[in-house]
């Protein structure tokens, strides 16, 4: 028997085994759900019932635990990179160095192109916000489990799928824009920033809506076992990746754009 025939036979056998496994699972009776789909969806939006105890100090939404976890992991990775990788940087970069430089260069250029007059602080801010949104959104893919105060196990959601996290980032971005206006143009900068008073609301709810919709679709898909095969590859991974990229770009780009607009020195006529 030639090698090609053996490989073909192996693939067919694996295919049959997988098909039988899927059929077996699909025909079985699903276990009884602890919560209805309505409750799951409602809780994903409002976080009324499922709370997690934060070090026994206070009960918080699961997204806050996600946010703290993301921060801890990101800072740990950043510290490792700072200690072990950055000192070995070469003038002709390797693949990982190139990736880091691309990340930093992307946000730095975003700040420089949108706000040519004043961009030092803006570059650092959009970098941090971009990394937070991107990694925070991808965080839901890992499906880390947390135990609620009621003793139930829940998958930790993306931090920004919580309205409180979205409001904090949206308002902070607005404050950053306002600070750019004050530093760049003084009272006139404050005026031009306050003119866009709807910005913190639109920024917050844009983030919240985008991340929450992803969360709800994922919750819906995983709630029913029949939808839990193949489909999660599309909705769980590709959509998450896609909206992680889009939301990162949108918030950082909008912040940089408005910051550049309000910090631009006023020309006397």
């Amino acid at each position: 028997m030639s090698k090609k025939k053996r490989v073909t036979g192996l693939i067919i056998w694996l295919g049959i085994v997988l098909a039988l496994l899927v059929c077996g699972l699909l025909t079985g009776t699903p276990a009884a759900k602890q919560e209805s789909i309505k409750e799951v969806m409602r809780d994903a939006v409002l976080h009324e019932s499922n709370k997690i105890s934060l070090f026994g100090i206070l009960d918080v939404n699961p997204a806050l635990v996600s946010a703290l976890t993301v921060t801890a992991v990101v800072l740990l990775i950043a510290a490792c990179i700072r200690i072990f990788i950055i000192p070995r940087f070469q003038y002709v970069p390797g693949k990982f160095q190139l990736l880091l430089e691309q990340m930093v260069g992307f946000f730095d250029n975003l700040a420089k192109t949108n706000s040519p007059h004043r961009n030092g602080f803006l570059g650092a801010y959009v970098f941090a916000a971009g990394v937070y949104i991107f990694i925070g959104t991808l965080f839901e893919l890992f499906g880390l489990q947390g135990v609620t105060t009621k003793g139930m196990s829940i998958a930790l959601p993306a931090p920004l799928s919580d309205i409180n996290a979205a409001i904090s980032l949206g308002c902070l971005s607005y404050l950053v824009i306002l600070s750019g206006g004050i530093v760049g143009n003084g009272f006139r900068g404050v005026g031009s920033t306050l003119k866009d008073f709807s910005l913190p609301i639109s920024m917050s709810f844009r983030l919240f809506g985008a991340l929450l919709s992803g969360l709800l679709v994922t919750e819906l898909v995983y709630y029913y076992i029949h939808l839990s095969f193949v489909l999660p590859v599309l909705v769980g991974i590709m959509f998450t990746l896609l909206h992680a990229l889009i939301q990162t770009y949108v918030l950082t780009m909008l912040t940089a754009l408005f910051y550049g607009e309000v910090s631009e020195p006023h020309k006397k006529k």
Partner: protein, 149 residues
């Protein structure tokens, strides 16, 4: 009445606190060192570029200088050649003039010598004639004496 959508100010502040830590950490651990390195590399390559540009400029200046030197050397050579030609012409004319002068002197001397020789020959001839005449006279006189005797 609670805030709609279960908005909680305490959790908003906790999220802000969390993000502030993340932003500060990322700035000091990643953003600043990587940006510094990139700027350092840009400065390094700009320095190399400037150095190369300075060397090219220096080479161009040297080429120009050598070209100018070459041109001035050619001009100097031409000038010297012309000077040498003029000097040769002058020397030739001087030699010619001297030769002419010498020729004239030689001719004058030759004429003078010839004249002198001519006069001497004439003088000698005269003297010889006188002698011959005297000899003939003596001889004649001697013959007459002999015949008288």
């Amino acid at each position: 009445m609670g805030i709609p959508l279960n908005i909680d100010w305490q959790q908003i502040l906790l999220h802000l606190f969390n993000f502030a830590i993340l932003a500060g950490g990322l700035y000091f651990l990643l953003y600043k060192p990587v940006k510094n390195f990139m700027e350092q590399r840009i400065a390094y390559y700009q320095g190399m570029e400037q150095e190369a540009a300075a060397k090219i400029e220096q080479a161009n200046a040297q080429e120009l200088e050598y070209r100018q030197r070459l041109e001035s050397a050619e001009q100097e050579a031409n000038r010297k050649k012309e000077q040498a030609a003029r000097d040769a012409e002058k020397t030739a004319q001087m030699i010619l003039r001297d030769a002419n002068k010498q020729r004239e002197q030689i001719l004058a001397q030759a004429k003078k010598d010839a004249q002198h020789e001519k006069e001497k020959i004439l003088q000698d001839a005269k003297e010889e004639i006188v002698e011959l005449a005297m000899a003939a006279t003596v001889k004649m006189l001697h013959g007459e004496a002999v015949s008288h005797e």
